[in-house]
């Protein structure tokens, strides 16, 4: 892909991810995250990973982020009032994150090869080849993952549902706007 496209997408994703971390309002954070995910999805498409790229948009942004949104509404989260956390924590945390970045940079600088240098097979990244690999070599993992999803659904329902006493208790006080 052309370098300009890459640089554009890279800058967008960095700025929006910074936005996720920095913003006060949870809804704004969520919005920034959505933008980051879309940028990364675009990068997937630029890297010839067509299926995964679209899946990213559909599943990740379309479903998971919506779920996040619903939870923010449900909990009625407000803007964070006072910046909490001691200076020492912020300092050390930043150092740690910077350290991670530095180490990974050093690591990944060893990676060789230009993007255009590698020619991929025809049909690389298409749904055809993905399905072939997925249902061929990784069939077991696929089936296990489906069970995992089932378990996750049951677990989520079990954890998040109200029990009857709670309902009775919550009912009278519910609905008071804060």
């Amino acid at each position: 892909m052309p370098a300009t496209l890459f640089i554009f997408l890279a800058v967008v994703s960095i700025i929006t991810s910074l936005g996720v971390v920095v913003q006060r309002n949870p809804i704004h954070c969520l919005l920034a995250l959505i933008l980051t995910l879309i940028a990364i999805g675009a990068l997937f498409l630029a890297l010839d990973a067509v299926v995964v790229g679209f899946l990213q948009i559909i599943v990740y942004v379309g479903a998971i982020m919506v779920l996040f949104l619903f939870v923010i509404w449900l909990l009625n989260l407000q803007v964070e009032a006072v910046p909490t956390g001691s200076l020492a924590v912020k300092f050390f945390a930043t150092i740690a994150a910077a350290g991670v970045a530095a180490e990974l940079f050093v690591f990944f600088s060893k990676t060789t090869g230009a993007l255009g240098g590698v020619t991929v097979a025809a049909g690389y990244g298409s749904i055809d080849s993905l399905a072939q690999t997925l249902f061929g070599q990784y069939l077991m993992a696929f089936e296990t993952t489906s069970i995992l999803l089932l378990v996750a659904v049951i677990g989520a329902v079990a954890i998040a549902r109200r029990t009857i006493p709670e309902r009775e208790r919550d009912a009278p006080t519910r609905g008071t706007p804060t």
Partner: protein, 102 residues
């Protein structure tokens, strides 16, 4: 213009990952911490896709597929837990959720 090399993509992935780490360590709202974790996962996905293309193999994309699935399941359960916590303690501030202290 110069050609994009894989090391650039990996560097980008590292940067987003580090930002995600910073988010987990710095923010107090557990929902936003969770979002930072999603950031980290995506950074890793990016690295996988780039390397898959470099090696010309579909295995990396299959991994990304699975990571997405698991991230979805994890998000569902995690958010259910956050809802449950909120119901019991009326707060999503990580500093106040320290029952397991000594």
């Amino acid at each position: 213009m110069m050609t994009v090399s894989y090391s650039w993509v990996m560097a980008l992935s590292a940067a987003i990952f580090a930002i995600g780490v910073a988010g987990v360590l710095l923010r107090r709202n557990i929902l936003i911490m969770f979002m930072s974790i999603e950031l980290m996962l995506n950074a890793v996905n990016l690295a996988f896709v780039a390397m898959a293309r470099r090696m010309g193999s579909m295995d990396g994309q299959v991994i990304v597929f699975f990571v997405m699935t698991v991230a979805a399941a994890e998000a569902a359960v995690g958010l259910a837990i956050i809802i449950s916590i909120f119901r019991n303690r009326e707060t999503v501030n990580a500093d106040e959720l320290n029952l397991m202290r000594w």
